[in-house]
Structures are given as C-alpha cells and as structure tokens.
C-alpha cells in the first residue's frame, strides 16, 4: 500500500489547479448534478470544454495519441487528482457518455485500425455522439435472444427490427447496435456488433417519456436500413463477445464511486443547511446515523475502486471484485437520493418550477433516474446471477427447453 503524493503528483496537482483557475470560466455553467435534468441544451459549450480537456489530458488521458487521446501511461493517482480538483472547483469533468465510456474502449479492444482512426478522435471530443442499440421489446435481461435482423445483400446488410430503451437516440449521430446476421447459428453466435449513422435512411426514433418527466430514452425502428458489412466491429457473428466487453465498461461507469461521493457531499450539505423546528437536521441523531452509514459505504466503494484499479494494473484478471460494482454503486446512489428526499420532508416532494424547490428538483429526478439505472445496464437480478455463477462458480439455472 502506498497512497502518498510524490513530488511528481504534487506538481501535477498544481498544474490541474492552475488550469482550472485559468479556464474555469469556459466550463458549462451547471454542475453534473443538475446537468442530468437538462442534458442537451448545453451541447456547444460542452463540446468546447470537452475538446480543451482532451488537449490537456484531463479526460481520455490514456487513449493513444494516434487516435486523438493524450497518450499518457495509466496512473490512477493522477486520475484521482483530476477528479478531486475538478470536484473541489465545482467544475464538470470530462463527459462520461456511452460513446466515450463504452464504445471507445470496445473499439480499442476489437476495432479495425480504420475504425479506430475514424471514430475515436471525434467521439472523445464529443463531436460524434453515440447511442447504444442493445435492448429490444422481447430481449431485455435475455439480451441474446434479440431479433433485429441483418440480411446480407452484396457488401451490405439490410437491417430490420426495433430497439428500445435507447438512451440519447434522439440526439445521437451514430449508433452501436446488435443485429442478428447469422439466423441459423446458436443464439449467442449469430449476432454482429455494427456501427452506423443515425441519419441512414429507414431509421425512425420515437422518444419515450420517462417517470422523471423528461424523455431521455427512445424506441428506434429500422426499416430496410442499408449498412456496409465493413461497419461490423470484431467480426461477423462475434457480437456477443464484443457486446459483453462493452457491458463491462458500462457497468464500471454505472458504479462510479466519484458519482456516489458527489451525492454524499450534497446530502451532507443538506443535513447542515436544512432545518426542522429551527434546528439543523444534522442535530437529529437518526438522520445523522443514516448519513454516517452511507458515508462508510461511499468510503468503502472509493477504496474498493482503488484496489480494483491497482489489481488491473498488476495484470490480475477481472474477478468478483469488479462484478459487484454496478450492483452496489447503483443501489448506494439510490439510497443517497432517498436520504436527501427524506431530509427535505414535504419540501422533498416539490417538483417542476415550484416555490421552495431545492436544487432544481434534482433530488426527486435523481431518485427516479437512479432507480432506472438499477434496472438498466443489466438489472440487479442479472448482476446477482453473474456474481453467483461467474464470480462464485455456483450452478447455472437449468435451461428451459426451447429458450
């Protein structure tokens, strides 16, 4: 164990602070906390900021220079310093959207040289925004049963079918999509991972209103959509393997401990600032105990993440420790939102543009949104299957004939 700042890291921290001092005014004005409420009206500002961060290596830090990244060696302490300093300055960090966090690592692992050259640079600069075409109305937890078909036609596939829960499809430039291209192969071996533009003829996007009141995901319909076979990533029929590597990145993103820390600190501020019968809520031992319980959990997740990153750096394979992050992190975030709401009491149920509203209504919006994240990206129950079967080696559920 060695968690000390060395001279190199002290200097790096200074460098980040200096950068923030000089450039803070260029950052999109809203914090990540309320950002989720109105995700897209800041696109221009976000793009400029994102580009600046890429140039300085404060995001996409380890992406090779050849593909537009900063090309730095992995250094978890530096990543942590960046996160801490941005957080302390209340400035939003680099974006963590599906293109950057899921597609880019997948291309680095499975893409052709041409695909890497073409997509990674504009994606990390937020010049191309991606959506993920995985789930279908009849293929949710049983994702491999998906039916969207790609039929060979010369050098192309003709794609027909429907996707659902497609976050950001209404604003995305591109989609990475799972398509059944080998109908006669066993279900896990007949899928291809294909990337194509969302303005290809034959694609229709219908927004789905969510319980938060904002449309954040969509249904996407494909009618005779013509896509070159060259757009397959990782080989025909190999999409299940490629998709699983993407899901691995998504689950890391969904359990991000910095997000939990951000929530925790906000809950702490609420406890100190909000009062009941004239007394700050922090004086109430019951609320205080709930807070400290969650504080210990956040601390555990942050330290656990450091342990996992250290293990990965030493070349230890992905194991049980990584599998639990999505399950625990999403549950923790939901509990933090719930505590925030409870601290606020009746004020906590105010919404929209109501008087006395706190934080733009973000507590309720996040409470609902984070429940969505417990379900999305592989439900909590699917995570428990993965943890028990792959992590603990427990026997699999017997297959039902024909499924």
């Amino acid at each position: 164990m060695d968690l000390q700042d060395r001279a190199e890291h002290k200097a790096f921290r200074e460098e980040v602070r200096q950068f923030l001092k000089e450039n803070k005014h260029l950052a999109p004005g809203e914090s990540a906390f309320s950002f989720r409420m109105r995700p897209r009206n800041l696109a221009g500002e976000v793009r400029t900021w994102q580009g600046l961060l890429v140039d300085h290596g404060y995001t996409s830090r380890t992406i090779p220079k050849a593909y537009g990244g900063f090309g730095a060696e992995p250094d978890i302490l530096k990543s942590r310093i960046i996160a801490d300093e941005f957080f302390a300055a209340n400035v939003i960090q680099g974006l963590g959207n599906q293109g950057i966090s899921m597609l880019v690592p997948t291309l680095l692992e499975h893409g052709t040289e041409e695909q890497k050259q073409r997509y990674i640079r504009p994606t990390i600069r937020s010049e191309i925004v991606w959506c993920q075409g995985y789930s279908e109305p009849n293929a949710g937890s049983d994702l491999a049963s998906l039916q969207t078909s790609g039929v060979e036609d010369g050098d192309d596939f003709i794609i027909n079918g429907q996707k659902i829960w497609t976050s950001g499809a209404h604003i995305a430039d591109m989609i990475f999509c799972l398509v059944r291209t080998e109908p006669d192969a066993p279900k896990h071996e007949g899928i291809s991972y294909i990337v194509f533009p969302m303005d290809t003829p034959g694609i229709e996007v219908r927004p789905l209103q969510t319980m938060t009141g904002t449309p954040s995901f969509n249904e996407v319909f494909f009618t005779d959509v013509r896509v070159p076979q060259a757009n397959v990533v990782g080989g025909r029929g190999n999409g299940w393997v490629v998709a699983n590597s993407t899901l691995k990145h998504e689950r890391g993103l969904l359990g991000d401990a910095n997000r939990s820390l951000d929530s925790l600190l906000r809950v702490g501020k609420l406890l100190q600032n909000e009062s009941l019968d004239g007394h700050p809520l922090m004086e109430n031992p019951l609320f205080r105990d709930r807070f400290i319980r969650l504080q210990a959990r956040v601390q555990a997740m942050r330290l656990h993440e450091m342990r996992m990153i250290t293990d990965a750096g030493k070349g230890k394979g992905r194991g049980l420790g990584d599998m639990v992050v999505k399950l625990l992190g999403c549950e923790l975030n939901h509990q933090l939102d719930g505590l925030g709401i409870d601290i606020l009491g009746e004020i906590g149920v105010l919404y929209d543009e109501s008087p006395m509203l706190r934080d733009g209504g973000a507590w309720q919006a996040n409470f609902m949104f984070d429940l969505g994240l417990i379900i999305g990206g592989g439900t909590a129950q699917i995570q428990k299957n993965i943890i028990s079967e792959r992590g603990l080696g427990m026997p699999r559920e017997p297959k039902v004939a024909g499924a």
Partner: protein, 361 residues
C-alpha cells in the same frame, strides 16, 4: 499509488494460511472450545514461532517491527479459521500501548517477553471504547487503581494487563498484583476469552502518555476486529456456496435456484469492498494518522453490519444444518456476533464518527 499488499505481506498471509489450514481444523477448534479453554496452547506456540506475538513489537525488543496492515492480514486469517488464540489485545493493543506510551524501562520490562509469546497481556479499555455498563469504571490515584473494568479482552491466561482509567490514562498491572480480582465471563464465543477485573487499591505502573495513546490503541483494535470479521464472513460465504452446490432438492443443487444463489451474491457483494476499508484503516495508522480514527470507525461499523448480514444469511443457506452444532457454522456466527459488540457497537462507533467530523457536539 498502490492499493494492495506487498509481496512480503502476501508471504505473511500465505504462511499463516498454510499453517492454520493444518493447525486449526474445525475439530481442533471444537475440542478447545468445548473444554472451555478459549486458548489452544499448541496453536499459540506454533503461531508465535511464525512471529505472531511480536508482529508490532520493534526489533530492539525481539519483535518483527511490522505495522498494523500486517497485523490485519494475520487477523483476517485467524477469523477465517476461528482460531482460539488471543490476538487483538495480546498481540496488537497491548504492545501498541506500551510501544506508544511506555518509557524505556517499561518497554524493556514487558515487550521482549510479549514478543516471544511467553507473556500474554489483556487489555481493559471497554469503558472508553464501548461505554460503561452498570457501575464499571476505574479510578487512578497515588499509583493505585480502584473500581471495575468489564469485558477485558484476552484476559484469560494473561499475566499482565493494560488498563484504562476513567480519565483516559493507561496503566500496566501485573496479574498477581495485590488487590486484583479476575472473574471470567462466558460469552457465546468460546474461541476467545473476556473477563472482568476488580481493583482495590491495586498497585499499577502508569504509562507516560495517556489520551492520545488510548485513542490509537482503541482504533487499532477496531481495525483488527474488522479484519477478523472479514475473514470469518468470507469463510461463512465459502461454506454456504459449497453447501449449496452439494445439497440437492427437487432434483437439483439448491445453489441453482436464484432464491439461494442471490443470497450468496448479496453476501459476496457486501463482503468485497470490506477488504479495502480494512486495509485502508490499517494503513492510515502510520501513513495518514489524521484519518486514522475515522477510517477505523468506518471499518469497524461497516464490517460489523456486513458481518451480521453474512452470519445470518450463510446460516440460512445451510437450512436446518446451519442451526446444528454438528455443522459447526455457529463458531463463525458467534465470532462475528462478539466482534460486533467489542470496542464499540456500530451505533456507538458511527456516533463517534459524526463527532470526529464535527457533525455533533
């Protein structure tokens, strides 16, 4: 940054794991526990041969001069095997108290014999760490102690004690001191001993420093109990997974039912991050001292909660067998129950964590 064990620390873990798998089989543990001994002299002697008793004692006094992280690594293995030897007080808290608070004479008089395992020392700090029950409390005046100290850790077979007084001062007391009475207390956990000490003008040798040392000694004890619980919890999960893989009902292994495998997944999920919390708590003592008390509080209170969940859930996975003495799972269940109560319950420790951060007066 490196958040992991060094090769040397992994070596210590492996050597204790190897020895304990041979020394502390369930039958051996059971024999000791049923005899009411709470201490297996053979295991104690072998582990002292590996340097267990002197882990935290400096090389000048015959110890290994290692840190709390190494002690936590060992504690995890002791918990995993519910080993009936004194460790938290005798090998961690008492040596630390003397190392941090003792003068040269006191160190020389006590530490060398402690390092080789020939002198076992109990620790009486429950009133400071967990709060005073009944009329417990010890006053120090003119070099003598009076009063009662409850839940003295590793007190059975001890030839000396480190005792905290009501004002936060620490004292060294020989077991044969005049006016000292020792009463054994029986708990659910027969693998370790606690006792009550009664003092009546008992001569004691005060340690040079008081308050700050007591704080560190309690924090270190909390980290070690959390490490012990982590090992015990992991072993309960392992046994539950094994059992669920073997036991068949409705024509299939019960571990293939989601109702059962999800219980195991939940245990694994809760246990996984505990290791980082324990390691950081131990690391903080030397390397991030300003964070030590809080880190120890988080480790103790969180692992206590996870320990309770795992203890009941793993037992439940075993069905009726889990409830029997034959299966022996109850040794771990009880060890976890006791670790939770000692040196501050989770509620007490979280309240301290709030105070440490200025959230409460």
């Amino acid at each position: 940054m490196d958040f992991g064990l060094s090769e040397e620390q992994e070596l210590i873990r492996d050597s204790f794991q190897g020895s304990l798998s041979r020394l502390a089989e369930l039958d051996t543990v059971r024999r000791t526990a049923e005899a009411g001994a709470a201490l297996d002299e053979d295991i104690w002697a072998e582990l002292c041969g590996l340097g267990m008793a002197g882990l935290l004692i400096g090389e000048d006094y015959g110890g290994a001069g290692l840190g709390l992280l190494e002690a936590a690594v060992v504690a995890e293995e002791l918990g995993r095997r519910v080993v009936p030897v004194p460790f938290v007080a005798s090998a961690v808290m008492a040596p630390l108290a003397i190392r941090l608070g003792g003068d040269e004479d006191q160190c020389r008089a006590w530490l060398p014999a402690m390092a080789d395992g020939s002198l076992r020392v109990g620790v009486a700090v429950s009133e400071s760490a967990a709060g005073a029950r009944e009329d417990a409390g010890v006053t120090a005046e003119n070099g003598v102690l009076s009063g009662r100290a409850l839940f003295v850790l590793d007190g059975v077979g001890a030839e000396g004690f480190v005792v905290a007084d009501n004002a936060g001062g620490l004292h060294l007391v020989r077991a044969d001191a005049a006016g000292l009475d020792r009463v054994g207390l029986k708990t659910i956990d027969r693998t370790r001993a606690v006792s009550e000490l009664r003092f009546e003008n008992t001569p004691a040798d005060p340690l040079r420093q008081g308050e700050g040392v007591l704080r560190s000694v309690i924090d270190a004890g909390r980290v070690i109990l959390a490490a012990d619980s982590l090992g015990a919890g992991e072993e309960m999960l392992r046994q539950a997974v094994d059992y669920a893989g073997e036991r068949k009902q409705f024509g299939r292994a019960i571990g293939s039912f989601q109702a059962v495998k999800h219980m195991c997944a939940e245990m694994a999920s809760e246990l996984q991050p505990c290791r980082a919390l324990v390691w950081y708590g131990a690391y903080a003592m030397e390397h991030e001292p300003a964070q030590f008390s809080l880190a120890a509080a988080f480790a103790k209170s969180h692992v206590d909660e996870v320990g309770r969940f795992v203890a009941r859930t793993a037992t439940e996975v075993h069905g009726g067998m889990g409830f029997t003495d034959l299966m022996g799972l109850h040794y771990w269940f009880k060890r976890l129950g006791v670790n939770r109560a000692y040196l501050g319950s989770p509620e007490r420790v979280r309240d301290e964590a709030a105070r440490l951060q200025g959230f409460a007066a």
